[in-house]
């Protein structure tokens, strides 16, 4: 039973049923990251998917852009409690990138330029639910928001949408990544409010 905070509640924000529990709406685009922003030029950028067989599937910037580019309109939810509705992105579906990938492992570690990692089940990347995005609101994705390319997995808290994405490594078991080792939830469903470990 929660205690009542005397006199609180006069300046409440309007509730919005499209927001997960404990989130508030923002029209800004705040930034959460743990260190300096890596600066990656598109001519040196590379993305890979590595599997248990030792196979490494690689794409450079031109090869990524030769794949079908799709528009994505979605809401995003940050563990620090802001949500942003109706964001617009462009990028390549993970379904497309996994088309030629043969793996029996069910878990993925996302690796970023700069060394950060975060874990996600493969099932959460498949089925038109996740993309490698390179544009936000009609412009190239800025470095502070993860450019030149970030993962977008909007049905999970936004730290699972790794900035400065560099590669995916298939995992036999669900191991915690950088953020998960530092107190955040292994899965991170905003609708179940899975913020912390």
């Amino acid at each position: 039973m929660a205690v009542i905070s005397r006199g609180f509640g006069g300046h409440r924000r309007e509730s919005d049923p499209s927001l997960p529990p404990g989130q508030y709406l923002t029209t800004d685009f705040p930034v959460l990251s743990a260190g300096p922003t890596p600066r990656i030029h598109t001519d040196e950028w590379e993305f890979s998917i590595a599997t248990e067989s030792g196979a490494v599937h690689k794409w450079n910037w031109e090869q990524l852009h030769a794949l079908p580019i799709v528009d994505v309109d979605t809401d995003i939810h940050c563990v620090t409690r802001w949500s942003k509705l109706g964001t617009h992105w462009r990028g390549v579906s993970l379904d497309t990138l996994f088309e030629g990938v043969d793996t029996s492992y069910q878990y993925v570690m996302e690796h970023s330029y700069g060394g950060y990692t975060t874990n996600v089940p493969l099932a959460d990347l498949m089925g038109n639910k996740a993309w490698i995005v390179t544009e936000f609101d009609g412009a190239p994705l800025g470095p502070e928001h993860g450019g030149p390319a970030r993962l977008l997995v909007p049905h999970l808290y936004f730290w699972k949408s790794a900035k400065w994405i560099h590669g995916l490594v298939m995992q036999k078991t669900d191991q915690p990544g950088f953020w998960e080792q530092n107190g955040y939830n292994l899965y991170g469903d905003p609708w179940l409010e899975q913020r912390y470990s």
Binding site: R6, F8, G35, W82, G183
Partner: protein
């Protein structure tokens, strides 16, 4: 998290396994101090709180008489064992929670806390290497907890603080930072208006400022940067430009609500 648990025990802070950091605990405000024109510190007694490391934060929950709730995260200004924690809050204009905490809440009032949270932006007393702290505005809060943790542990780790403020009246913990412990060096920097006869004109922080008054990369300091996003981005970029390895620069950004 087993390595974190063992270090908590080394610090005399309750082991994580003994304290459930996911439950809401009722806290009672035991003192409130005006810190600046827009900020206030609150000391809160929280039975069951298991202590915290310097730099960690807490969730704070307020409940209105009709059951409406709002939750925000705040950095903790205190560190160590015990069930009393100190928060310092800067009022965000038109915010929902911060104006209540800065203007309305009184000694004796109750609110709820959950934590401590976060295992990255922390300093542990057993770390003996040099530490550079760089705070912008209310970003001083987790840094003051590191300064206090260092003093409480009688640590000889060299500390430097660079504190960037709009104007003198915006300073948090001016008195405490005006009497630094041995081995702590404090530099003030003003971006809009300086005190009288201040040598550096009011201006945003630059790479030249960082080169002049922070620990050089050759000393391999751990650098903690906290403040608004633009401040943190600019400072972290400049630090990397000066030669600090990115892995030695830890950042925390403040968004307002």
């Amino acid at each position: 998290m087993s390595d974190v648990t063992s270090e908590l025990q080394d610090n005399g802070v309750a082991p994580a396994s003994a304290v459930d950091t996911t439950v809401w605990r009722v806290g009672t405000v035991v003192s409130a101090e005006r810190e600046s024109t827009s900020g206030r510190s609150l000391t809160i007694d929280v039975p069951g709180w298991g202590g915290n490391l310097a730099g960690q934060h807490t969730d704070l929950r307020l409940t209105a008489p009709d059951g409406y709730q709002a939750v925000r995260s705040y950095s903790i200004a205190s560190a160590g064992a015990g069930q009393r924690i100190e928060l310092a809050i800067d009022e965000v204009p038109n915010g929902e929670v911060s104006p209540y905490l800065v203007e309305d809440v009184m000694v004796g009032d109750q609110l709820e806390l959950r934590g401590p949270l976060g295992g990255w932006f922390v300093w542990r007393p057993e770390d003996t290497g040099p530490v550079q702290l760089i705070g912008g505005g209310s970003g001083i809060v987790p840094l003051i907890s590191m300064i206090r943790s260092r003093a409480a542990a009688n640590s000889a780790a060299p500390f430097r603080l660079l504190y960037s403020l709009r104007a003198p009246e915006d300073a948090f913990y001016r008195g405490e930072l005006g009497r630094p412990a041995p081995g702590l060096d404090v530099t003030w920097l003003y971006t809009r208006r300086t005190p009288d006869d201040w040598p550096r004109p009011a201006a945003r922080i630059t790479a030249a400022d960082l080169a002049a008054v922070t620990i050089p990369p050759s000393d391999n300091p751990m650098v903690f940067v906290c403040g608004p996003t633009g401040f943190v981005e600019a400072v972290a970029d400049a630090l990397v430009g000066l030669g600090h390895p990115a892995a030695r620069v830890k950042t925390e950004r403040f968004g307002g609500a």
